[in-house]
Each structure stands twice: as C-alpha cells, then as structure tokens.
Symmetry: C2
Subunit: 346 residues, 2 copies
DNA sequence: GCGCGAGCCGAAATCGATTTCGTGTTGAAA
DNA sequence: TTTCAACACGAAATCGATTTCGGCTCGCGC
C-alpha cells in the first residue's frame, strides 16, 4: 500500500523545488526542456495524479455539480440523471446525486451538505413536501451565496433561476386529444393533488382539451389521488362508480392501476376503454397491453439542465442576471392501450 | 450575492486571531467563555459553515463514498443506492454516484476521476464489459493506494476485498423448486451469457433444482440471450419451437418478454404456463399477471455494503487484512404468474 | 515586591497544488 | 571588463481550516 504521490515527494526525489515540478508538468516554458522531460518521465513512471481536493481549494471550484431528486424509483428521474451525467462528464464535471425521498428536511440537509464547498452548483427537482410547504429558504440562500441553480420538472415559480420544464399542460392536452380522436366520449383523468405542480398542469391540459372539443367537463370524472401509496383501491372504487371509455392517467402507476381496476370490472383495454399514461418508462413499454403514453424526454431534459448550469458556471461574470426557462416538448407514443385490433408491438 | 464567510473574515471582524475563532467554534476550553459566546453568536448570525474542501484537505479524508454502477435503469440498482444512501448519510458520509453504462472505459475513467481525492472509498458493481474483458487493473490500483473497495452483485473473484452478493444460485434454485412444486414438468430458463457472473450462477441453481427433483436437464430448454437489446424476437422464437409448462427468467425484462411470447402463441399465464422472474421491481409488482419473483433485497444489500465500507474506513489501522463476503439471501415472492384461479392481488 | 502558574490568546505549520515574484547564472554586447 | 538580458529555477503566498506550541497577562503566594 503506497500512499499517493505528491508534488513535494517528486521534488525531493528529483532534488528540485516543488514549483519547478508543478511548472514542468504543466509544460511551462519557464522550465528547460531537459528538466521538463525528466520530471514528466518520473511522474508518468510513478503514475502521479494531482490531488483534486487541493485543486478545488486553490481554484475555488470543485468541478462537480450536485443533483438532488425526490426519488429514484421513477424511471423518469433515472433518464434525467443519465442526461445530466453525459453532458457533465463530457464537459469535465462530476455529478453528485442525493435523494430527498420527497422529504423537506432531507432536501435542506442535502443542500447544506453539498453547498459548503462540495459542488459548484445544483440541479434539482423539489420534493413534494417542499412544494406543499412552500418554504424555499434553502434555495434562496444558496443562490445568494452565488451558486447557480437549475430547477427541473417540479419547479418553483417564486424562485428566480434557470429552469427546465416539460410542457405538461400541452402534453396532457395531446394525450386527451388523442383519446377524443379515437372516439372517446367520457374521458376521466386520474391525477395528483394540486400542490404537485406537474399534476396540476396536466389537469389544466385535460380541461383545455375537453373544452376545445366541446365536451362538457364532468367534475366526477376527475380523480385526485391524495395517498399515492394506496392509490389502487381508490382507483378501483372510482372505476366502479363511473362509466368511462377513456382514461388519462398522469403517471405510469396510475395507468396500470386503472387497467387493473377495469379488468376487475370485466372491462378490457383497449377494447372497452382506452388508456393514455404519462412517462415513457419500462412499465409502459412492456406492459400488456403496452401503454400509449406521453414521453417526457428525460435525458434531453437532463442534458439541457446540465448545459444551462455549466454555462452559468463558466460565464459567472459575463451574463449575470439573465435567467431562462427551457421548455421540453413532449411527444405522444401510441401503443396498444389505445389501439383496436392491431398487431402487438412494443 | 455575498461570498461565503470564512474563519479569517470572522477573525478580522471580531479582531481576534483565526485560531481563536476556530477553537471557539469547537468549544475548546482554551478560550474564555465570554469570547466563545461572542464568536459563536457572530458565526450563527452570519450563518457560518466551514468549507468542506478545506476540511478534506486538512483531514485527508472527504467523508464521501463513490458508487459506480453499470446502469440505473434496472430497478434493482436504484434500491441498492437507496440502501447505500441511507446508511451513508446516517453515518455522516456523502454519496457520489457515477454510471459506467456497462462500458469498461467509462468505469476506468470514473474511478480515476474519483480516486484522486474526491472519495475515501468505493462501492461498485462492475460493468458487463469489464467482466467480459477480465481486466481489473483499475481496481487493484485503487486498492493498492489504500482505498477500500466494496464490490456488490457483479463481483470479481480475483480481487481481494469486501463483497456483498446475493445468493443467486440458491435464489434460482428456490424459484425453480417452486415451479416444480406447483406441478411443472418442462421448465425452461431464460438467462444471460456465462460471463455475466450472476447469470451464470442462476443457471447453476436451475440445474441443481432439476437434478434434485430427478428431472432430466434438456439443454434445448436453456436459452442464453446474447443481445439483450433484441431479446424479444429470440425469446419469441424459442417459445414457438419448445413446449414448456414453466419458465424461469433471470430478470424482469426476460419475464415479460416470455409472457408476451406465450400470448403470441395463444398460451396464457398462469393457466397454461407458470413464470417466475428475478428482481422484485415495479414491473413485477404491477404487471398483469403480477409476477412471482425472486426478491434480492437491494436496499439491504446497499446498506450492508455501505456499512462494510465505512467500517473499513474508520478502522483503517486496526483490522487491516480481513475481508468478508456477505451473502444476502433472497426470498421468493409469490404472485399471480404462478397461481391458478386466485383473486387478484398485488 | 517578586516569581510562578493558570488562563487566554496568537503565530505559524500543515494539508497539496498553483503562481507570482525574486534570484542566481550565463551569455553576449558595449 | 562591465553590464544587462535571457534563462532556469526556487521561495513564498495562497486557498480555508485545524492544531501545536509559545507567549503574554494577571493573580496569588511567599
């Protein structure tokens, strides 16, 4: 077990000064070619790598970005992470990921932990509890310290910073329009409570689509799930007391719960009822029937967020006060859950 | 935008020495109670937080652990991460996550990036390409530098270090035994190529279970998928040329592909064929029929790995050379895909 | 009144690297 | 021979915090 090689050790070994070694390794022409080659050869031989911590301290930047997400269970977030990772690594940055588990406290703790020198900036999607609470002090504090933040997906209007969101309202509108197009008359929505920003927006899109097609909105057909853990029974009861021919569900879980509920009632998808979901995850692709769904292009979102953040980091002085909000458009992926009598496809 | 507060600034502001401030904040009795209170009050007021980078440099430890996983798509890995995160945070450590995307090169690059001071140790599951290549230099090098490593799931026998694995062979055996118990006679396995360690072990478990029950092993019923991306057609063809009444698939993807293939042939699960999968993910829980599956207890695995690593970090001098291999037992979760005529349940 | 010890505090080294500035040597030009 | 520039390299400050060690002041005892 050899402890790691430092500049000082190289200097001692070669009987030169530390500064000489440093300069030689960075190819400064202040150092003679001879000495440079000798030092570089030595360094290569013993596999010298500069200590990142020392560099971070000296340069006052860490070259890492912190990502905080509510949960990793949702496939959507994993795709976003992939996007962030790709861009960050390409541009020379590391990525630290922390989970808030949708807890306000853990979100705050994580941010504090990372803000004290560990990262140069943040990419985050706020916890459900944080949205409910409406307390964004930890965000403003970090921003005030001069750390750039990029919010994505679950964003906060009150905070001024770069944001990347998907067009939830329009995505929902497209989904419902698709249901209308294939002939559905009684379309239900299974959504979340309103304080979850994306759920709210998708509900708005649902209403707009119906209005546009002059379909009266039946408030009984709007199901807002409060307790996500036990959504199954609630959805089941909902489907037993309402007759529908189309369902728009704002996530994968609700979609399959709906299908199961319909099955319980003896109804089949897509023969009796058509279903459109949100989030193009494994579940949607592989379910039987495979799910027509609104794809959020998570990787693209992550890439965008990373680019925004790094741009800000590297032009810290230049364009100070301009914040942008990027909107990622969705696309509807048609699959079996809204098709009749078509050959199976994935 | 106020730049962050440092000890030096506090010292200047209060007209004392830097060392006094430092000691006061750490409650050293070298400093009078008066001064201590004054300094602490000031620090609290201006929300002073020590710079982690400086601490890392000084203490020669970063209090963060690096996690490198092949892919985040598999739900299994996300559960492991949750387990790691929980333990690490509880014990005061940060977690950096990097993805290798199953690429050998990216795995090496990530490790080098993190090894130079960013982390105190690693938890990793090696990339598929790395297992295929059999090149583990990057691992030995890091270990030689005195950095502890914990390998999990896809481990490498040639490397001496702590390991956490699940009992793949036994898990597979249980799964196949279950198929035998419910009356299956012709049981197929859909598995991976042999260089993926876990796939190989699960195949061994399959063989053992059959032998134990005196069922002759039909090599035609062993399907090794090479091209995971396009496994669907291969599985489909396999099911058209073989008559089976039970299928053991080594991951979720293969399970649902199999069910789809059976449906294509007009066979139903579980009425005509029973299916057992591996990995207790969202897909298994929510699929219709929901999948009987071998649960790997990923969170438990991650927690174990994190504890092993941190133990090693904190007893660096004491127990140097003792490496343990923890085995996480699996459990079989019975669901609809192996049940006949039972009420739906999740 | 002097000395000694306790109580408080400050200077400086340290972690590992970069960078500015200074210094010594050499050569050539005057 | 003197002087000055170019060249090669070294010393030291710096980033932010900790910690050792040394020193000052005051009070108390003799």
């Amino acid at each position: 077990m050899k402890p790691k090689l430092t500049l000082k050790q190289i200097a001692r070994e070669l009987d030169v000064a530390v500064s000489t070694v440093s300069k030689a390794l960075r190819d400064s022409d202040e150092i003679s070619v001879d000495t440079r080659q000798k030092i570089k050869a030595f360094a290569k031989l013993y596999n010298y790598k500069p200590n990142n911590i020392a560099l971070s301290l000296k340069n006052r930047k860490t070259m890492t970005i912190g990502v905080i997400i509510p949960e990793i269970i949702h496939h959507f977030f994993t795709t976003v992470i992939s996007g962030i990772e790709q861009v960050a690594n390409k541009r020379g940055y590391n990525v630290i990921i922390c989970l808030s588990n949708n807890s306000f406290d853990k979100e705050v703790i994580n941010m504090e932990m990372l803000a004290n020198g560990s990262t140069d900036g943040f990419i985050l999607s706020v916890a459900k509890e944080t949205q409910q609470k409406g307390d964004y002090q930890h965000l403003t504090e970090v921003i005030n310290q001069g750390m750039p933040i990029v919010l994505f997906d679950r964003v906060v209007d009150e905070i001024e910073c770069d944001k990347v969101i998907i067009n939830d309202r329009e995505g929902a509108r497209k989904a419902v329009q698709h249901l209308v197009d294939i002939g559905c008359k009684k379309i239900a929505i299974i959504t979340t409570v309103d304080y979850v920003s994306v759920g709210k927006l998708r509900t708005v899109g649902y209403r707009q689509a119906l209005e546009k097609n002059s379909i009266p909105i039946d408030e009984n057909l709007i199901l807002k799930i409060e307790d996500v853990e036990n959504s199954d029974e609630e959805i089941n009861r909902f489907l037993f007391r309402n007759d529908v021919d189309g369902i728009f569900a704002v996530n994968e879980q609700f979609s399959v719960s709906a299908i199961r509920g319909l099955n319980n009632r003896g109804l089949k998808v897509p023969e009796d009822v058509s279903v459109v979901g949100f989030t193009n995850g494994e579940l949607s692709k592989r379910f039987i029937p495979s799910l027509t769904t609104v794809s959020q292009h998570g990787a693209q979102m992550g890439a965008k967020a990373a680019n925004l953040l790094i741009d800000k980091l590297e032009n810290a002085v230049a364009g100070e006060e301009k914040y942008t909000t990027e909107i990622i458009e969705t696309s509807l992926i048609e699959r079996e859950s809204t098709l009749l009598n078509l050959p199976l496809k994935i």
